[in-house]
């Protein structure tokens, strides 16, 4: 079965005014869809067609002859994870165990936010900034283009897309304003906490991807606001 574009877990206008409807419509309906369509074209008739998305990402990483498969599979995965990293009720900080870990590893939420912003601004060109678990500790990391912690054995908790297409319509060249807005109003700490609890269970990567669709189906928002 071909890979499908996961529905967004909220309506296209649900993140306004922090992220506009037209940004989400293009980002999801054109960019994310483009990666999935290209991936399907590339894997059709190959053994990859029936594999889990994260397995394709892991197996094709670093293989130069499979660069296009990696790029499109990883972008398909990263975007599905990114939609869940945002919520209309976002911002603030985590609660529970994740809050304690954040304090232990960064000091406090503001210190985390400062370092996360610095990392997101420091990623030259297209890429992603991530909060991950690395050997039991929380860590901020960045990847370039399609690269993803999933390919490197790290458990991601959150991500922000810093390709220019993610913020150009709403913030133009001001990546810093985009990251500030995202941290203050959009970041989904419940999603991060769910990923945090899953750490170590092994199967989270596949789960996350499926959950995008399931969460959306349950939300009942599926039929409104199609691009």
């Amino acid at each position: 079965m071909a890979f499908q574009l996961p529905e967004l877990p909220y309506a296209l206008h649900a993140l306004e005014p922090h992220m506009s409807r037209r940004t989400l419509a293009l980002h999801h309906g054109k960019h994310h869809k483009g990666y999935i369509d290209k991936l399907n074209g590339l894997v059709e008739g190959t053994s990859y067609a029936d594999r889990e998305l994260h397995e394709i990402v892991q197996e094709t990483c670093g293989q130069s002859d499979l660069g296009a498969v990696f790029n499109n599979a990883a972008q398909a995965w990263n975007h599905a994870f990114f939609w869940l990293s945002m919520t209309p009720r976002g911002g603030g900080g985590p609660e529970g165990e994740l809050a304690l870990r954040l304090e232990r590893d960064f000091g406090d939420v503001d210190a985390f936010a400062g370092q996360f912003k610095e990392a997101a601004l420091g990623q030259f060109g297209a890429g992603w900034a991530w909060l991950v678990i690395d050997a039991g500790r929380l860590r901020i990391t960045t990847t370039s283009n399609a690269d993803t912690p999933v390919a490197h054995g790290l458990q991601p908790l959150l991500t922000i897309d810093v390709w220019e297409h993610a913020y150009y319509l709403d913030h133009q060249n001001e990546r810093g304003a985009y990251v500030d807005t995202w941290l203050a109003n959009l970041v989904n700490w419940e999603f991060a906490a769910a990923n945090f609890e899953d750490a170590g269970e092994g199967n989270w990567k596949a789960n996350r991807y499926r959950e995008v669709r399931e969460a959306f189906a349950e939300s009942g928002l599926g039929e409104q606001d199609r691009a």
């Binding site: 054109k30 660069g67 370039s144 060249n173």
Partner: protein
């Protein structure tokens, strides 16, 4: 001296409707300006503040100074790029460059197809180029700030394929942007000048940088 943001060699609305004034407001006025100001911060109070731009780029490349390289090379690439557009652009080159394109690519259409593939196939941020290497024309692409001048190539033309270059005018449709560049904007006179200069050594980049400013001053004086 410190590095300067060159004026554009045409008015900001001169390329409309193919490239909007708004694109130039951001691309030249914000993006390019920011590379120049970061570069100036990086060279401040160092001997590099007195060097020419190409020397800084080669130094940063050789020493693996990535941040410095990024801002210096982006400055160079953008200076070069503004001249690759013209309000009277598009069409095909004639003269010796036209003949060389036919000799090295088979036909102009093959060149255009290869250039389009290089521009649309550059995943993420980067640049597509027509360059000369060892006497032969080739189409290449580079990622992020990377530039042919550190790879022994002599660039004739470039197209910026960072999303900021086309998002205001074309959104995600990079192929449409590339097509518009080739049909309406490409400055073959500039490419022919670079082609004619190729035997003169490695100074093209510096000259292109200086010329961008001189040509603009000349044109503005002539117009007023």
């Amino acid at each position: 001296m410190t590095f300067k943001l060159p004026d554009l060699p045409y008015a900001k609305d001169a390329l409309e409707p193919h490239m909007s004034k708004e694109t130039f407001d951001y691309h030249h006025g914000k993006h390019h300006a920011s590379y120049v100001s970061k570069l100036n911060d990086a060279v401040k109070d160092t001997p590099m503040a007195e060097w020419d731009l190409e020397r800084v780029i080669h130094h940063a490349d050789k020493e693996g100074k990535q941040g410095l390289f990024n801002n210096a090379a982006k400055h160079w690439n953008h200076c070069f790029q503004w001249q690759c557009f013209s309000p009277e652009g598009g069409g095909k080159p004639d003269g010796s460059l036209g003949r060389q394109i036919e000799a090295d690519f088979g036909s102009f259409d093959t060149f255009a197809r290869k250039f389009t593939e290089a521009a649309t196939g550059q995943f993420g941020s980067g640049w597509a180029w027509l360059a000369i290497e060892a006497g032969k024309l080739k189409v290449t692409n580079t990622g992020n700030a990377d530039t042919p001048i550190v790879h022994g190539q002599h660039p004739l033309l470039t197209l910026d394929v960072w999303e900021h270059a086309y998002y205001i005018d074309h959104r995600n449709a990079r192929p449409k942007y590339v097509e518009t560049f080739l049909d309406k904007l490409v400055n073959w006179e500039f490419a022919a000048e670079n082609f004619a200069n190729q035997g003169e050594g490695n100074q093209t980049g510096a000259r292109a940088y200086d010329d961008a400013q001189e040509a603009f001053v000349r044109k503005r004086a002539a117009a007023s």
